[in-house]
Amino acid sequence: MIRFENICRDFKVGDETVHALKDVNQHIEAGEYASIMGPSGSGKSTLLNVLGLLDTPNSGHYWLNGRDVSKLPDDDLAATRHEIIGFVFQSFHLIQRMTALENVELPMVLAGIAPAERQDRARQMLCKTGLESRMSHRPDQLSGGQRQRVAIARSIVMEPKVLLADEPTGNLDSQSGKEVLDILEELHADGLTLILVTHDPVIGQRSHLHLRMTDGIIKAERQHLQRQPEDNGDAPS
């Protein structure tokens, strides 16, 4: 699904060049559950931005869904984001003047989908995240956990292949954090590739692929690799 080949990303800060990503090679399989961990300034945000096509690497190749996307022009990047990637942010990024339903509709508005279909799909997604009774509430009338669930509904409404979550529980209390994480993991169980940036080692431990970042370098560790076949074996298919 995702393959990084010698990805470098440098920033110029004053006279100094900061190497946020140093020659990163990494692949993430379709349907995998990965977590990115590391201290502040280790490059994990940059990694997520490059993964999400919000930022482009200075050198190297990024293969997403079988296509080299490291040198695409802006509009193609936008289109690829639109089709393949869903974002969940720490601070939700909901539009305050819009209701929950309208917020979830937004990606479909950009896609030019007709209102009837749009509302239908947005309602389904909000039901999926347990917000049946909150559809016409505006973000300021919702709790943090509910806001994040609206954001998750929005991120999956275009049926992406990869979901990037940047500290999705960072602004939430532990109870609503757990609910949000449950929903994300459910989505992963349904086949979505889930990539999570987190500070919380407990959350990190739940993923199958641990990417630990220090000074622009990834140390990858696959856990529960043995458990995954077991799970698959258990499920009669």
Binding site: D74, A79, P107, V109
Partner: protein, 403 residues
């Protein structure tokens, strides 16, 4: 992205920031209203002058001595430059030969001192004939206008304007009294109704006397100008040809007069007023240009207010063109609304002007209204481009972080 959705989002953004939106609206509205009001002044002045001319009847020719090659208004002042050949009563009389001319009204103008029982003042004297009353539709308050006399009958009678009648006679009846004009005794035979301006002269301050009498007072052999009335609109051209032909024959082949019809004079006035009105429109348009830069400013603020939202739209896969489209729609929406408000305010102000000055028919010409609205909308588009591109060029990562 569907058009209704784009409009909907733009409207939502306009409604979301009422202060910003209303300030921009006001700026554009002022610009548009200024164009309407200023052009209505010019247009009102034009219509006023036109109506003044039309009050004289429609098939008139204005004849002045001296040949004016350019035509136009200069001919009116031809008498000032000293005419090459005097324009005599004989010339006037000879024009009666033409079947296309129904009347001739010669004029001699000057100032003189009028005196009644020790009260005296300076007045404008207008020597003319009885036909003047019909041409200018004068109303007589008491007595009568100048009688039909032979052109060279210097009968010592006069008709006085309203102001002069009040100043010399107070509440007494002026008709039948004898006054002194210059060193001659003249009997007042008529008192004109208050008339304000007519034909460019202040009627209330004028004294009308027979043409021959005025020529004696001013000791001159010629008339200063003449109005020739054609028998109908259709015969105007023939009447003009006859006037030129007859006078030329009498002046030994010299075509030394200028003949203008009302159309020529009106079109000259129209040209002058069009220039005036366009100049006013141009000045007002500057305020629209200023409003345009305000649009740019306000839209830049809008972009920075919504940086995070733009970042989100980009993360959700909005293309460059979509973001530009959103902000351009917003700018155009604001400027169109401003234009509509401006048109309403402009028309309301013009209505107010009409109430204040009922004499003048103030109205903004259609071309001014249309071009003001188009210019407002165009400036919204034009000045919206830069901020919209600025929004589309934002780095998504930075924008999401709200920077």
């Amino acid at each position: 992205m569907r058009l209704p959705d784009r409009n909907h989002m733009a409207i939502a953004a306009v409604v979301r920031y009422p202060l910003r939106s209303s300030m921009l609206l006001v700026a554009i509205a002022i610009g548009v209203a200024a164009v309407l009001v200023l052009t209505s002044l010019g247009e009102g002045a034009r219509l006023y002058v036109t109506s003044q001319f039309n009050s004289m009847g429609t098939h008139l020719l204005f004849v002045t001595p001296g040949k004016n090659e350019v035509g136009g208004l200069g001919g009116m002042a031809g008498s000032l430059g000293g005419s090459p050949r005097p324009f005599t009563l004989g010339d006037v009389r000879s024009l009666k030969r033409s079947p296309y001319i129904s009347s001739t009204t010669p004029m001699v103008m000057g100032t003189a001192n009028i005196n009644y029982q020790g009260l005296e003042r300076d007045i404008g004297v207008l020597g003319t004939t009885h036909t003047m009353k019909r041409l200018f539709e004068y109303e007589v308050k008491s007595g009568r206008f100048l009688p039909e006399l032979d052109l060279d009958n210097a009968s010592p009678v006069c008709v006085i304007g309203d102001t002069i009648a009040r100043e010399l006679f107070g509440t007494a009846e002026p008709v039948g009294k004898w006054v002194r004009i210059g060193d001659r005794r003249v009997r007042v035979i008529g008192w004109l109704e208050q008339g304000g301006q007519s034909g460019g002269r202040d009627l209330d301050e004028a004294v009308f006397v027979p043409i021959a009498f005025a020529m004696q007072v001013y000791n001159r052999e010629s008339v200063q100008r003449m109005m020739v009335e054609a028998t109908s609109d259709e015969s105007l051209v023939k009447a003009k040809r006859d006037v030129i032909g007859i006078i030329k024959a009498r002046h030994f082949g010299h075509e030394d007069i200028t003949v203008m019809d009302q159309g020529t004079i009106l079109s000259t006035f129209n040209k002058i007023f069009l220039v005036l009105t366009s100049t006013l429109a141009g000045i007002a348009a500057i305020s629209l240009a200023v409003a345009g830069t305000l649009i740019m400013n306000v839209m830049l603020v809008a972009v920075s207010q919504r940086t995070a939202e733009i970042g989100l739209l980009k993360a959700l896969g909005a293309r460059r063109s979509q973001i530009i489209g959103l902000f351009l729609t917003e700018a155009t929406l604001l400027s169109s609304l401003g234009a509509v408000v401006g048109v309403l305010v402009g028309y309301a102000s013009i209505e107010l002007l009409r109430q204040l000055v009922p004499l003048v028919d103030f109205q903004a010409p259609d071309w001014a209204v249309i071009s003001a609205v188009l210019m407002a909308i165009a400036s919204g588009l034009l000045f919206g481009i830069m901020p919209a591109r600025h929004a589309a060029d934002l780095d998504p990562v930075e924008a999401l972080a709200g920077r």
